[in-house]
């Protein structure tokens, strides 16, 4: 039962969607950005506390589907201690991963999103938090939306 679905909704994803980690605002955040997926109404806000070039703390709030919530939750866990360059590289890897299903380079736990590529309508859900992340690092004031980009 649910073979293809098991690829999409991996146990790790189900767990993070039901119990999102780092799910809170940060009063002291150095930067933040909003992500919006107008198609489903997914809405999230990402907070980063930077120490020089390094992500010291990351958290998020918002509402969305299982995939977008789990993606934001896993993102906040996986970018701690990473530099801006690391983060940019991670974005590219996650992007490739959800588009093609192929794991290129070290992605750690994020490999659970490989199944998303079989569900084209859900790619935007998986990548939303990552777009918000880039926007936060660039210090962009306006919300990013999944409609301005190919994914």
């Amino acid at each position: 039962m649910f073979d293809e679905l098991g690829d999409l909704y991996q146990q790790v994803i189900l767990d993070h969607c039901k119990h999102p980690r780092n799910f809170h605002e940060q009063g002291q955040a150095t930067c933040s950005a909003q992500g919006h997926n107008p198609l489903c109404g997914d809405q999230l806000k990402l907070f980063l506390t930077m120490e020089g070039d390094v992500v010291k703390d990351a958290s998020f709030v918002g509402s969305g589907c299982c995939i977008s919530k789990a993606s934001a939750s896993l993102l906040t866990e996986s970018i701690r201690g990473k530099t801006r360059t690391d983060v940019r590289q991670m974005f590219d890897r996650v992007h490739d991963l959800v588009m093609t299903g192929e794991v290129k380079g070290e992605v750690g736990k994020l490999a659970v999103f490989a199944g998303v590529h079989k569900f084209p309508a859900r790619v935007k859900c998986a990548i939303l938090a990552w777009h918000a992340l880039l926007a936060a690092l660039k210090g962009e004031g306006h919300p990013v939306t999944t409609e301005n980009d190919e994914t």
């Binding site: 039962m1 649910f2 293809e4 679905l5 999409l8 909704y9 189900l14 039901k18 198609l39 489903c40 109404g41 997914d42 809405q43 509402s63 969305g64 589907c65 299982c66 995939i67 569900f119 309508a121 859900r122 859900c125």
Partner: protein, 425 residues
């Protein structure tokens, strides 16, 4: 089996006999397929309906035998295409009991119909400070064209409130809303996300008393129940062919001839002019004044076949069947344990149900259902302001048509149970 009828003979409702629903379903080749290894259950009919064989045949027959441009040639094929196109107009007039074929403007669909009224009637009738009354359950296509008009003119938009999840309009207070400033009242007949059926004849009667022009969005009703514009008493009524077994790309805007007569043109171009000089032109009367350029001719042929097809079944029968499916779905869903929020009226609903499972996002419901062969819609259904009012971002929706069955609904409810289990809700 519903067979093709020639454009000239109008099918009569066979009031005595019962509709043979399984045979009717057999007219829809697309329904006979597997999706992700499961039999397709198509429950996205409010978005667009499937097309029966007579409609598909009419389209290919048109292109194989009659294709030519309309109102231009004097050769045989052009005569045939023109005759068929105008026969479709006359058929559409009979379909909604318009006084005459000239009350029928062919459009791309409901959206274009509303935009046409906003741009032409709106340009000459709406001034700064005027009120345009809508309802909170309108589809974006019956909100945004009025926002654009309000921006241009300085008119103000007002919204008749929806009463929470049961999705009814407060009719006791309608007369208070129909003030002297209000020039237009535009409202949906059937809500595409709540399934509410509005008493449109009553709305129009009250509006008329207050001297207010009316527009009915019949996108969700035209293919689902008998429609009589004279009985409804509206000034305008718009619908889409593709939501009633017809092809995409064709729709109808009905306008009362007296109202159409003094409306300026919509788009400029061929077909709509009497005479063109380099500096100025004169227009044809309605409806041709509003139909610039080559129209969707095959679409009109297809729509004609769709209207014949629906009336052969009988729209009153379709309405009954809708109600049965809607009531069955609502009853089965409300018994679902584990938390479900249902939207729309408890009784007298159209054949669609919007819902939210506790702790499961609508898009996750739709993705899993799709893997079980069940096509649902998840999202705001082009009703974003309404969703915000109800405090939700999106809902999942199952919308039915006459080829759907109670067995399919039972299977769908079973799938929802699996989904609840899967997400541990």
């Amino acid at each position: 089996m519903i067979t093709e009828t020639s454009p000239q003979t109008e099918p009569e409702d066979e009031a005595e006999s019962l509709a043979d629903w399984p045979a009717i379903r057999g007219d829809f080749p697309i329904l006979d397929q597997q999706v992700h290894g499961q039999p397709l259950i198509y429950f996205d009919n409010a978005a667009t309906t499937q097309k029966p064989r007579p409609v598909l045949d009419a389209l290919s027959h048109y292109y194989q035998t009659d294709n030519a441009n309309v109102h231009r040639g004097i050769h045989e094929l052009s005569n045939r295409a023109t005759a068929g196109f105008e026969a479709a107009r006359a058929r559409a007039a009979r379909f909604i009991n318009a006084a005459q074929p000239d009350d029928i403007i062919f459009t791309r669909g409901t959206t274009e119909g509303v935009n046409l009224v906003a741009q032409t009637w709106g340009a000459t009738h709406i001034r700064e400070g005027d009120g345009i009354l809508l309802t909170e359950m309108e589809h974006h296509s019956n909100i945004v064209p009025w926002q654009l008009l309000a921006e241009r003119t300085g008119a103000k938009l007002m919204f008749l409130p929806v009463s929470g999840d049961v999705g009814l309009l407060d009719l006791n207070r309608l007369d208070e809303w129909l003030t002297r400033d209000v020039k237009l009242f535009a409202f949906t007949h059937i809500s595409n996300s709540l399934g509410t059926i509005n008493p449109v004849a009553d709305f129009c009667a009250r509006a008329r008393k207050a001297g207010v022009t009316t527009l009915v969005d019949a996108a969700q009703s035209a293919g689902h129940r008998p429609l009589d514009v004279q009985e409804i008493g509206c000034d305008f009524l718009a619908f889409s062919g593709h939501k009633m077994c017809g092809p995409t790309g064709i729709g109808v805007l009905y306008g009362r001839q007296e109202v159409l007569a003094d409306m300026p043109p919509y788009q400029g171009g061929g077909e709509m002019i009497l005479n063109v000089d380099f500096q100025r032109s004169t227009w044809k009367p309605a409806p041709h004044r509003f139909e610039a350029g080559t129209p969707d001719i095959s679409g009109a042929f297809g729509l004609h076949a769709a209207m014949d097809y629906l009336d052969k079944i009988g729209r009153h029968r379709i309405a009954e069947h809708d109600q049965e499916l809607g009531a069955h779905a609502y009853a089965r869903l409300s018994q679902l344990k584990g938390g479900i929020r249902l939207f729309g009226p408890h009784v007298g609903r159209a054949g669609l149900v919007s819902f939210l499972l506790k702790d499961v996002h609508a898009h996750d419901v739709v993705t899993v259902a799709d893997q079980r062969g069940v096509a649902l819609r998840g999202g705001h259904h082009c009703n974003q302001p309404l969703m915000h009012k109800l405090g939700v971002e999106s809902t999942a929706r199952a919308s039915f048509y006459f080829y759907n069955t109670t067995e399919e609904i039972d299977r769908f409810v079973e799938v929802l149970r699996e989904i609840q289990e899967f997400f541990g809700a």
